[in-house]
Amino acid sequence: MRRWLLVLAALVALSLGARAGAQPFGERGLRALAEAIADMELGRAQELARRSDAETPQFLFQRALLLVNLGDCVGASAVLSNPAVTESKEGAQLAEIAKSCARATAAGFVVEDKERGIWLRLQDDADRVFAPFVFKVAAQARDRIGAELRVDLPRPLRIDLVRDLFSLSAVTGLPLEAAETTGTLAVARFSRVIMLSPRATRSGYHWEDTLAHELTHLFVTRATRDHAPLWLQEGVAKRYENRWREARPFDPKDWAQVTATRALRRGRSIGLTKLGPSIAMLPTPEEASTAYAEVQSFVDYFVREQGEPALRLLFTDLKGLASEDPSSALRSVSGYDLDQWNRRWQKSLLDAPPEVVAPPHAGKGGDARDLARRARLGDLLLDAGYGQEAATVLAPGEAGGSPHYRFRVARAELARQAPDQAALRLGVETEIDGLFGPWFGLRGRLLEATDPAGAARAFALGLASDPLAEEVACQGRFMLGDRPDDPRLPASPDYRALCAGARQLGRD
């Protein structure tokens, strides 16, 4: 009798266990799944979702959200084709995003660096030449920023490299008009970074810092369970976007402070709480720029006043925040709420010494129209293989601090086999007024023989600015007519592939 009772008890236990396994999705289960997704614990979320065959709209929504986070928009789109899910506003919005995302990412070209734990999906497989550089920078930025914030990101880190703004909008759900207005380059959403390919812009962009900026968003999202307000997200991202690497020329040192102060004094301040749903959706690029400056300045001020640990404590507090008001987390961490912090920060800005106008750049630039004429004529002559003539046309132009013109003159000098003259006309970093990839490409080439370290640094700066410029990718070499001016290719296989890709791109 006793034996039978034991068997019966075992059967009951098994049955209950099986039921519990199949139906974990009560309110608690659903919340656990949602939190796992918000925490970017996609493995755990997959495990939780796998255990259930529930078909409630809420569960289907979370499952679709999980798939979108995993980058499987085609699958998510299929789940969201269930009208029960799209009855809700969130469901309908997610369905729209999943649909457009599926179109933009279906059959994407996936490259994975398993060792570094980075998964990169390329919309245009021609961007594969760019992948090794993305892996390197992403890993470095992730490790450095993670260490500073004391947050880790689950592996693999997912990155989508899309071909154009149209696709960026499709994958992220950011309205295309807004993206075009403000010039959005990347978005961190759905547990991954969605970034524009450098080939989308005419002369590249600072993709490394952009990637670091978006990675910081992921860190903040994970650290706060996506409860961080926009000003905090963007402020921290701006603060950390270039702290993962060594300082570079033209890094904006006091830009945030100066811009925020100027905006406040001129009554053009945007305000921390008036950023809307995204800075990318502000009406003009100028307003977006001011908003970035303000949030960065505010976060810098907060850290300056309270220290880095306070920031981390704020993240922790926000993670457990039940209410929608992050001000209470700020008060609990620092003793002041957001309004009080805002007033303190603004006071500090107004108390700061007046803006010092930067001294005019060394070297006087010539007539802009004349320079443009000469630059174009030089380009046309050089493209047709007339190096000597190009040099003749470009020589009289007064480049001033313009790296564009200096680069063209130096290139023409190189084309007529006058490297010394080229080095002279190219100048040095202190003579130019901005980061221009091809300038650094030529600079690296001219330093190769005498200063390999300097050359490597120049190439790296070029790569950070415009990786697909021929002079950057080919380390200072360029096509003169239908032949390269210097037949040597870069020693590194990655650079060689990048060089071939850049030459195929054929920018005008």
Partner: protein
């Protein structure tokens, strides 16, 4: 041991049993078998499975009874013990028992164990015979008679029963038995069911053939849809008769005259048989009528020259001559164009359904809207529909002519490449011109100015020649827009102007090179947008093909469709990529997305391929740069915010933008000037509309009356008049018209009528002398006419002066505006001559002439001479309008919304008179209509607004 022969008494018993009992039993058995057959047939005739089973059981029972009786008799006769038990024991039970005991003794003695006994077999046999011999023959006979009588009585009952059933309807038994042995629902033995069988066929009405009789048996060929009527008298009542053909059957119904009839609509080959239905079983007649339907053939369409392929870029017009034939009648002839999943069906002829033969022709112009929008090969067929009302109309189609469209963007890419070559020639020339700036080296021979000029001229000719060729060129059907032609020719002429110094020459070369470069980029960017949008349609076609491929049954078609569209897309993307910066960007996107689609297809995922193709289609339809904001990024980190973003150089040449600006300004000037003309016309018109002077009106009436009187001597117009009389009569008509206008004070009309009348009077005077009109009458009329005409002209002059005085203020305002516009024209001309954006000399000269006229018009208006000023304004406007027309770009291939649905064959040089090509006459009619409207609108508006009305009408008709 040998068998012992039966003793005689036993034989007697056997004989009695065989002849009396066994026979009676056998007869009964036969009777039962008969009864079984009858009952089985009746039961099985119900035709269901169960009843047929029951019938079979009954039949089996009858047979079994007969067999049993026979077997039983044989066994009884072959066994002494059975025989004694069946006979003696029944008649004399005691004696029977003794006989059986005696038989036992015989058997025991005869057995192998008998050796051990001492009994004699002979004695035992004797004992047995003696016992049998004791049996009384009388008793045995009585018993035998009793048994046979009883059996015969039963037999009688059975026979009567079976006989009754048979006698009532013997055919039922045969039917039942037939049904009983049926297999697969068909009885094996056919039977006749109908007598006087008649079969008729009624062909479908649309064939308009008469009804006709058919042989009830044999083979007949009848049109599909014929109604076959089978009629006859039933052989037997109460049967369910049907007409069976294949698996179908039609019941016979009463024809109202004692017969039955069934109708069968012929749709497929069939053997018709009359049959009777018994439950699930049919018993058919032995012979049937085999009907072979004759199908209505689809129309046969012959298209001249098909099948063949044509390149659309080489096609001026495609003339389609066709002939159509059908066996019964034609309803419609259509021209069908198919490209990918698109189809355009255009009815060429609607026929009455009785015509069996039709020929015609149709022209297809390359400007046809369908062809212009097609990027896939277009299959052209002529198809004809018959009048088949039975199985539904059928389309017959001709062999196809495949039109291979110009690749999407092919023309634009060729045009761009040609302009690039022209620019390359300029670059080369510029590179060669540069050394002329260098100071001559010591020792070099000095070059004279003449030498330098010659050298420059040769260089310019060489450099400009490709540009001139480009302007005149056609590239896979794509020409150079007029605006671009004007611009580029202007640049070429600017370069051809002699340069006083080498510096000027090089500087001018630079200007021209940069201007052409800017134009190249502008043309490339605009073409890239156009081509991109058209490629979007191709991508959509790929997506549709991929969607089709998601149905496993349609994958073959889908692969074909996708394959063709992908080819077009790939070539189009390559062409797009070759077009300027925007084209390179968009083409790069398209090529990347193409690879994505190919990856999906290679992985067998039509779904993913469709998604990627839809994305590409949407992207291409939005032909903007991939990153259309700030040059290298704005927000979301990494942007230039606060960073040392280097400033890109500006535009090197504003020539093309300047040219476009010039064109816009010119159009605006023309529009404003037209408005000014309207203002002057309005001012003059309102100045004329003054209050009528009653005295003047009375005087005019009197003068009108005087004129009428003076004309009375002239004849009325009538038939048979001599030329002189006719002229005089017409003069009278015009004179009356003048009088009427005078009485209404319509002085302009009166003047016009007076002039016409004067001409006719001159004619009458010069006519041969066969006229009945007296010279006096002519002179009187002439004098009066001249008198009144003079008065009218005086009044008109006064009115004009008064009107000018009234309009003076308005005219002065107009004069100032006219002056301003003249200055604008001068400015435009100057900028067009001396700026980077050179206008062609014709345009510049026309502008100069317009400017001169406008200045003169301004002076006239200023002086209050409104009419003269207006005339000058109109002349200037014509020049401005002409320039505007010249600059208006030609419709481009692929531009939506224009050249829509050009009439087939219209304006087609190749549409010769060989065929009656519809469309041409329509255009002629349209042209005639246009002329009529123009004439109508402008003829009777003699006032100042006449030209305005004409311009308005022309504008409407444009």
């Amino acid at each position: 041991m040998p068998p012992i022969p039966a003793p005689a008494p036993l034989e007697a018993l056997a004989t009695r049993f065989r002849t009396r009992v066994a026979r009676a039993r056998r007869q009964l058995g036969v009777g039962l078998l008969l009864l079984g057959i009858v009952l089985a047939a009746l039961l099985a005739r119900q035709g269901t499975g169960l009843t047929r089973l029951g019938g079979a059981a009954l039949l089996l029972a009858g047979i079994s009874a007969l067999v049993y009786v026979a077997m039983q008799a044989r066994r009884t006769l072959s066994d002494r013990r059975r025989l004694i038990a069946a006979t003696l024991s029944r008649a004399e039970p005691a004696l029977g028992a003794r006989a059986l005991r005696a038989l036992s003794l015989v058997e025991r003695v005869g057995s192998p164990d008998a050796a051990e006994t001492t009994e004699s077999p002979e004695l035992a046999q004797l004992h047995f015979q003696r016992v049998l011999a004791l049996a009384p023959a009388k008793s045995l006979d009585a018993w035998a008679s009793r048994v046979s009588d009883r059996l015969r009585l039963v037999l009688l009952l059975v026979v009567v029963g079976a006989g009754t059933a048979l006698a009532l309807d013997p055919a039922r038994i045969l039917e039942g038995l037939d049904v009983l042995v049926a297999r697969a629902g068909r009885a094996p033995v056919p039977m006749y069911w109908l007598s006087s069988l008649r079969v008729e066929s009624r062909p479908p009405a649309y064939q308009r053939s008469a009804d006709h009789a058919l042989f009830p048996t044999g083979v007949a060929h009848e049109p599909v849809g014929s109604v076959i009527t089978v009629q006859g008298q039933p052989e037997r009542e109460g049967r369910t008769l049907v007409l069976v053909g294949g698996t179908r059957e039609v019941p016979f119904v009463s024809d109202g005259s004692g017969g039955v009839v069934a109708r069968w609509v012929l749709s497929q080959p069939v053997e018709l048989r009359v049959a009777a239905r018994f439950g699930n079983v049919l018993i058919t007649e032995p012979e049937g009528l085999e009907l072979r339907p004759v199908a209505d053939e689809a129309p046969q369409v012959a298209l001249e020259g098909a099948p063949r392929q044509l390149e659309m870029k080489d096609m001026q017009a495609l003339e389609l001559r066709y002939s159509v034939h059908d066996d019964h009648g034609l309803r419609e002839v259509a021209l069908v164009l198919r490209a990918g999943g698109r189809e355009d069906r255009r009815t060429l002829e609607r026929l009455d359904g009785e015509v069996k033969q039709h020929t015609g022709a149709q022209a297809l112009a390359p400007r046809d809207a369908f062809l212009r929008r097609s990027f896939l090969p277009v299959e052209v067929t002529v198809e004809a529909r018959d009048n088949d009302g039975a199985s539904g109309p059928k389309w017959g189609k001709s062999e196809r002519i495949t039109l291979l469209p110009t690749g999407v963007g092919e023309g634009e890419a060729l045009r761009y490449a040609a302009l690039e070559s022209a620019r390359a020639a300029l670059v080369k020339g510029y590179a060669r011109a540069l050394p002329t700036l260098e100071p001559s080296k010591p020792g070099d021979p000095p070059r004279s100015a003449e030498q330098l000029r010659k050298q420059q001229k040769a260089l310019v000719e060489e450099s400009v020649s490709p540009l001139r060729q480009f302007v005149q060129g056609t590239f896979a059907g794509v020409t150079v827009p007029k605006t671009a032609q004007t611009f580029l020719i202007g640049q070429a002429r600017a370069l051809e102007r002699p340069a006083p110094t080498a510096e000027t020459f090089v500087r001018r070369f630079e200007d021209v090179l940069l201007a052409v470069d800017a134009a190249l980029r502008a043309i490339g960017d605009r073409d890239a947008q156009t081509v991109s949008k058209r490629l979007g349609d191709v991508a959509e076609e790929v997506a549709d093909g991929c969607k089709l491929g998601q149905d496993p049954e349609k994958q073959r078609d889908a692969k074909l469709r996708v394959g063709v569209a992908m080819g077009v897309l790939a070539r189009g993307a390559a062409a797009l990529a070759s077009l300027s910066t925007l084209g390179g960007d968009l083409g790069g996107v398209a090529q990347g997305e193409l690879r994505r689609i190919e990856r999906a297809l290679a992985a067998g995922s039509f779904l993913e391929a469709e998604l990627a193709a839809r994305h590409l289609a949407a992207r291409l339809r939005r032909p903007k740069p991939s990153f259309s904001s700030a040059d290298s990024g704005g927000v979301e980190g990494g942007g230039q915010g606060g960073r040392g973003g280097a400033q890109q150089p500006g535009e090197a040449s504003q020539a093309h933008q300047q040219f476009q600006e010039l064109m816009r300004e010119l159009q605006q000037l023309a529009a404003e000037h037209a408005g000014e003309i309207s203002a002057v016309e309005g001012a003059l018109e309102s100045a004329e509309q003054t209050e009528q002077d009653p005295e003047l009106q009375n005087e005019a009436k009197e003068r009108a009356e005087a004129l009428r009187r003076a004309l009375e001597g002239l004849p009325d117009y009538g038939p048979g008049q001599s030329p002189g009389e006719q002229a005089a009569a017409l003069a009278r008509e015009h004179g009356r018209a003048m009088a009427e206008s005078l009485s209404r004070l319509s002085l302009r009309d009166a003047k016009q009528s007076a002039q016409s009348a004067k001409q006719q009077l001159d004619g009458a005077r010069k006519a041969p002398a066969d006229s009945s009109v007296s010279p006096e009458s002519l002179s009187r009329a002439e004098q009066e006419l001249q008198k009144q005409l003079t008065w009218v002209e005086e009044q008109l002059e006064k009115a004009q002066q008064a009107a000018d005085a009234r309009a003076k203020e308005a005219l002065e305002r107009s004069s100032k505006r006219e002056q301003e516009m003249a200055e604008r024209a001068q400015n435009l001309s100057g900028r067009g001559r001396h700026g980077e954006a050179a206008l062609s000399s014709e345009v510049a000269e026309a502008l100069d002439r317009a400017e001169g006229l406008m200045r003169e018009a301004a002076r006239e208006l200023q002086n209050g001479r409104g009419e003269r000023g207006l005339q000058l304004q109109r002349d200037a406007q014509r020049l401005l309008d002409q320039e505007e027309d010249d600059q208006r770009p030609e419709p481009q291939q692929g531009d939506e919304g224009e050249q829509r649905g050009g009439e087939p064959g219209a304006e087609s040089p190749a549409a010769s008179g060989k065929a009656e090509v519809p469309g041409r006459d329509k255009n002629q009619r349209a042209e005639e209509f246009r002329k009529r409207v123009l004439q109508g609108l402008s003829r009777d508006q003699g006032g100042r607004l006449g030209p305005a009305v004409k311009r308005y009408a022309e504008g409407l008709l444009k």
